[in-house]
Symmetry: none
Subunit: 498 residues, 2 copies
């Protein structure tokens, strides 16, 4: 018996997923393992595999198969959601031709490589032509997709990371935050200034010990090392495939908190990947729901769970033991204050959760202007510095601490930034509901037991894959639509004790 259109599509998407998995592994290798001289052949491999993936997805048979599958009345709700995911993936791919895909892939790989040195040397001039080329190709993609999706070019890019995300809706919640944050930040800073002085921790903290401790915490959170690894890369990330999750971090021997929280953050991502429905591996409906939900999982672990007094109660003895710490500086109380210190800083990835939204709003405004053609890349350093001054009142000493700090734009990820703050709000909303549903979550964390929390996330988020839209997923899990109230309440409780 011949395959139904739906079965045919499942086969095709399984094969495409294998190509995507190969691409993901090659990306991880490029960041964590590859010697510098491998870049040309790797660029070629990535470009060719991306082109093959694109050709599979835009095969002339696919539109009819999608129509056939959509008309199939025998599909269950998972299969129906799978067809929707297939169509969405196809629309994004079919909007742009193979030459543009390949040119973009090559330009991004090259730009990312040059960026690594440019950031080190704070050398914007060298990266500029590469960045301009990446933006140029990204705008071509944005316009082509905007046409097919019936949205603005920026929304078309956003839609790649946040399905059905729209800048106009983000504006509303970001405006809420933007109105709330400046006064709140002042209050937090005064309160911290009038509190007990922070006692610094004396290093050095050897990388090998940081790594061992990171693995201990990863295991406690529920990371499955049979299906993943921890390595080092310049820019920490969570890559690989759902069955073989590759986390990376970087170690600073003068400060272990940054790498450790980085590991906990990426572990949140990894737990989501490892918890996605195994019976739908390789199919769109079995994938993560999008970047804001993904980020909600990392921020829930890093910010909500692992900076709580309960986590520090569990972690403090392990920290003292690992680094031979003793005295008042290593007390739970001082550690908790160190972990929740708020400070205006230049670097997004080092920012605390209070100032983080300001960094995101800056980038959201700049990238939207760039995609709309209202900001030239030559003007980026100035626009960045002006924007940071306006929103946080500080100016970076160099482009290294300014517009060169993040990999995203140099790697072609335009439209990604807002998902961080959407994720932070979603995390707060999930965690509030999880704690209400399961009061033992925080007491268990105090004992190093994350099972109640992970259980709630598995049931309400991870196991859903892409069965529901982002907004339906949030509504189903928490009983209300996404809103900033839980995030604001969390910040007020943690930083003002109110």
């Amino acid at each position: 018996m011949s395959k139904t259109p739906y079965q045919d599509l499942e086969d095709r998407f399984r094969r495409m997923d294998a190509v995507s998995g190969a691409l993901s592994m090659l990306h991880w290798d490029m960041s964590a393992m590859m010697p510098p001289g491998g870049v040309d052949s790797r660029t070629e491999q990535l470009a060719v595999l991306q082109t093959l993936h694109h050709a599979m997805l835009t095969d002339p048979a696919v539109p009819d198969l999608l129509d056939g599958a959509q008309a199939d009345v025998h599909l269950d709700i998972w299969q129906q959601a799978n067809v929707q995911g297939m169509r969405r993936t196809w629309v994004h791919a079919a909007a742009i031709d193979a030459d543009l895909v390949e040119a973009t892939s090559r330009a991004c790989a090259k730009c990312e490589t040059v960026w690594r040195d440019a950031r080190k040397n704070s050398d914007f001039k060298t990266i500029l032509p590469h960045l301009e080329e990446v933006l140029n190709l990204t705008r071509q993609q944005a316009e082509a997709k905007a046409d097919k999706l019936g949205v603005s070019p920026y929304d078309a890019l956003l839609d790649q990371y946040e399905p059905q995300g729209r800048a106009a809706e983000i504006d509303v919640v970001f405006a809420d935050l933007k109105g709330f944050l400046p006064d709140f930040l002042d209050d937090v800073l005064s309160r911290q200034a009038s509190g007990p002085a922070l006692l610094p921790l004396q290093g050095p903290f050897p990388a090998a010990q940081q790594k061992a401790l990171g693995k201990t915490f990863m295991t406690a959170l529920g990371f499955d090392f049979n299906h993943g690894r921890l390595d080092e890369s310049h820019h920490p990330f969570c890559g690989g495939t759902y069955d073989d999750v590759r986390l990376t971090t970087r170690y600073d021997e003068a400060d272990f908190i940054s790498a450790l929280m980085g590991v906990l953050h990426e572990t949140g991502h990894a737990l989501y990947d490892q918890g996605l429905p195994k019976q739908w591996r390789g199919q769109p409906v079995g994938a993560d729901r999008g970047m804001s939900i993904h980020e909600s999982q990392s921020l829930l672990m890093e910010m909500q769970a692992c900076r709580s007094p309960e986590f520090l109660h569990y972690a403090a003895p392990l920290l003292r033991e690992t680094f031979n710490g003793s005295g008042e500086a290593w007390s739970e109380d001082n550690l908790t204050r160190l972990y929740t210190k708020v400070e205006k800083g230049f670097i997004r990835v080092d920012a605390d959760e209070v100032t983080y939204p300001a960094h995101v709003i800056l980038r959201f405004n700049l990238e939207r202007a760039a995609i709309q053609g209202d900001l030239q890349m030559a003007d980026l350093p100035g626009a960045w510095n002006d924007g940071l001054k306006a929103i946080l009142g500080i100016t970076p000493p160099s482009d290294r601490e300014g517009c060169l700090q993040d990999i995203h734009w140099f790697d072609g990820a335009w439209g990604y930034f807002p998902t961080y703050t959407l994720g932070a709000m979603t995390a707060a909303q999930f965690f509030a509901k999880a704690k209400a549903d399961q009061p033992e979550i925080l007491p268990s964390i105090a004992k190093g037991d994350f099972a109640p929390l992970l259980g709630w996330l598995r049931d309400h988020v991870h196991a859903k894959g892409c069965l529901l839209s982002t907004s339906d997923l949030i509504q189903d899990a928490t009983g209300e639509p996404l809103n900033a109230a839980h995030f604001k309440a969390h910040l007020k409780a943690r930083y003002l004790g109110s």
Copy 2:
């Protein structure tokens, strides 16, 4: 202007090479990095990429393009050789249909899995039906390819690894060796028995120090770490791509010599890869010439250069310093004797260069008989034991030390074994000519300077890629056809001092 057939083929082969490179990296990762739980998704990735590669190679347009390119009178000699390489690659792929490829792939994967336990338990009976199935499918492939290539089925398999290699020619040189070895081996063993007793080296030898020393030697030999890495895997190999060579080894803390010589062996492979003509990257003519030349490069480094007294003169102080060695056991003299100890043993991969050819000749005879239908797999253990008795005078205590020891046949690699000994003879012939051309080669090695040797290899072997056939390459480089004389002379000089 549209592309010529030749240009079209170059584009296609460049893209296929990128897929092969991706496959090679994923294989390396599977051996050196992947957590166990990643095996299912990795298997899927490899299978899909292999299918895509096969589809690209057997695209219906390829035969006409090959004819067109072959008729193109404007091609230079590199381009002509490139077209020959393309046709050879295509003939091997097009000779067998996709069903047979898939059936063989499945049978080999299954057989290899069963073999791991069968070897452990010395259980030939369990593996027998799987091995029979692999042989059955391999013979079908051999016959299909023999038909297209106009050679015998065994030669068709050999041709996959050693282009234009023919068993009848191998018979001649192997007969020469077979006549020489038994008496020679007796002489060497008596001479060693009557010499000074070998003084053992006392461990443990920490893996981290072995690795650091291995990297020191790799750098001395000329390995470019900008285009490669050294890692660990269960079965050491040289993988990756020509621009990003991934070496692996494994460390035994009781014996550093084995891992160190393994690293030097794989470095010989790597130097060849790194030295192939860069302007022909991704094209058949820019690839390595085949397995016997590849093995000649590893054996030239491991056996010819790095067991010489000159190498030990350079290496001994480094060895003593690394492992805190002192006394007579760590003298150049004792180290040289340890590095050149000869012994009759059951295991090929542990064999010295004197007894190694005996292991290969045994396997060559058996696999040829099997492919010709003259040896049934049920009779393999007896045939193996009789053969080893006849050639080395010893009988393995069990099949684990006998016909179950090597992965090759169980994994479908029939026709591969003779290239090891062809490589050993080629290495001796290259090294003799190199030393004659450049008398400073050995004195330089004594100072840790491999540049004169590497320069000769770059000029006469590496830079040629696949411009010449194997026999023309050897003739051009050494002024004579491949023969056993230099190998025999080398053995006599090293082991009998004559």
